[in-house]
């Protein structure tokens, strides 16, 4: 589905991604873990084709789109990303959730039906006419997730999507992610909740200081970490 090959990124003269190679396929959840500032968000933005890499290549369905803006746009229409700090447009909740559909020319009763059912799934039934300013942080995060899921993307990118949520809501969201994966979509999620990574991920990538220091199944990463560095990180963070 999506593949990074030796991706490098330079921000403000500093190399924040140092040659990352990883991929996520259909029906798979890839969790990216690592300390704050390790480059998780930068990597997600590059995978979402929002920012070009400063080195290396990004392949979408095996094709390098760096030269073709139109193709990137069409690829982006098959993805959706939820940012760490959700930006809810100054429209009603219903219009926010319908945004991706209306960008694709889908409107009318069909769009309304899909918006309504996705809102039910994220536990926001009856919120259709609410304004963004009246939403709590957790509610805004769920609107952002609904807005991404309603487009039924092939690739879902989540940047700390449950970070601001209470445990019960976070659980609902995790269920939604599992359900989405059953539709054979690829999910790449950056998280600092190591338990969540264990629960959800099929594979875990460990990012430290812009380098990929570990990549494997949750069992491999959490129970037999390949290096002292990774071991220290996963133990400390999950309290072992």
């Amino acid at each position: 589905m999506i593949e990074a090959l030796g991706v490098r990124a330079i921000r403000g003269g500093v190399e924040v991604l140092r040659g990352i190679t990883l991929k996520a396929g259909r029906g798979e959840v890839l969790a990216i873990i690592g300390p704050t500032g390790s480059g998780k968000t930068t990597l997600l933005r590059i995978l979402d084709l929002l920012d070009p890499p400063d080195g290396g290549r990004v392949l979408f369905d095996g094709v390098d789109l760096s030269e073709d803006e139109r193709a990137r746009f069409l690829a982006r229409r098959r993805m959706a990303m939820v940012f760490q700090k959700p930006t809810i447009f100054n429209l009603s909740v219903e219009k926010n959730v319908a945004y991706g559909l209306s960008m694709r020319g889908v409107s009318g009763p069909l769009a309304r039906h899909r918006v309504r059912s996705i809102l039910r799934e994220v536990g926001l039934s009856g919120y259709e006419n609410r304004r963004p300013s009246s939403l709590s942080g957790g509610e805004a995060q769920r609107v952002a997730l609904a807005r991404a899921l309603v487009t039924e993307p092939d690739l879902l990118l989540l940047d700390e999507a449950t970070a601001n949520l209470d445990p019960r809501t976070a659980e609902t969201i995790e269920d939604l992610i599992r359900k989405a994966v059953r539709r054979e979509i690829a999910v790449v999620m950056a998280t600092h909740d190591l338990d969540q990574a264990r629960r959800l991920a099929d594979r875990v990538a460990v990012l430290m200081g812009g380098s990929l220091v570990g990549l494997g199944s949750p069992v491999e990463i959490f129970e037999t970490p390949g290096s002292e560095e990774v071991a220290r990180f996963v133990r400390r963070r999950s309290g072992w």
Binding site: L50, R76, T87, N90, L91, G100
Partner: protein, 231 residues
């Protein structure tokens, strides 16, 4: 203070009696200012958008220049447009000098910079997160711009209303281009100047109060669209 009280009383009297001259001048002021604001908005919003959404060499300099033009003295605009529209000027054959249409031209020149500048500020105020969210949800470049403009709607509306306020309250262009001709180009500000020079202080006050009331209303509208009503 007697004068001010008397002026207030007279103003209320003229307004309540719907004095034909006062009504006519007020209506003309509004019509001219609304026309020039509409035209200026038609110019300023696309230009502001073009400048904001394109990166080019000298962009900062252009924005700085526009901001400098905010404080363009109205008499300077009046003089330049006067020379352009004058019989011996390049556009003299259009016959716009001393006509309401000429005043619209002058006011449009006067308020366009502030409206372009505030449009750019309004769009910049939206922030890159809106663009990123729009693109990541499948918006095309053009659709993303539409979304950003939608998010900036309130601030752009405020820019338009500020332009309107400046057009309505300026006197330099109205006097020099319009010429304060009775029944033709006399508007609130030039009528105030005239009545003061005539020594008709009370009438002048009355017209001033109408002007201030309209400006107050416009400001309340600005506050309302910005969402901080009475705060």
């Amino acid at each position: 203070m007697d004068e001010i009280t008397a002026g207030l009383a007279k103003a209320v009297e003229l307004i309540l009696a719907l004095d034909p001259a006062v009504v006519e001048i007020t209506a003309r002021s509004l019509a001219i200012a609304i026309t020039s604001t509409t035209i200026a908005a038609g110019i300023a919003v696309p230009i502001g958008g073009l400048i904001h959404f394109h990166n080019f060499r000298g962009k900062r300099a252009v924005v700085n220049l526009i901001q400098t033009l905010y404080s363009l003295p109205t008499v300077t605009v009046g003089l330049v447009v006067f020379l352009l529209l004058s019989r011996s000027g390049p556009f003299g054959s259009l016959g716009l000098l001393f006509t309401p249409a000429g005043m619209v031209v002058g006011q449009t020149v006067l308020i366009s910079p502030i409206m372009i500048g505030l449009t750019i500020a309004a769009l910049s105020g939206v922030g890159p997160a809106v663009r990123d969210s729009a693109l990541s949800l499948g918006a095309s470049r053009f659709q993303a711009i539409q979304t950003i403009m939608g998010e900036a709607k309130a601030a752009m509306m405020a820019a338009v209303l500020l332009g309107f306020g400046r057009a309505l309250s300026e006197v330099g262009v109205a006097m020099m281009i319009g010429g304060n001709i009775r029944g033709h180009t006399r508007v609130l500000t030039t009528a105030i100047a005239l009545e003061t020079s005539r020594g008709e202080i009370e009438l002048s006050m009355a017209l001033g109060i109408i002007l201030v009331s309209i400006s107050l209303l416009v400001n309340l509208l600005v506050n309302r669209v910005q969402g901080n009503w009475w705060t």
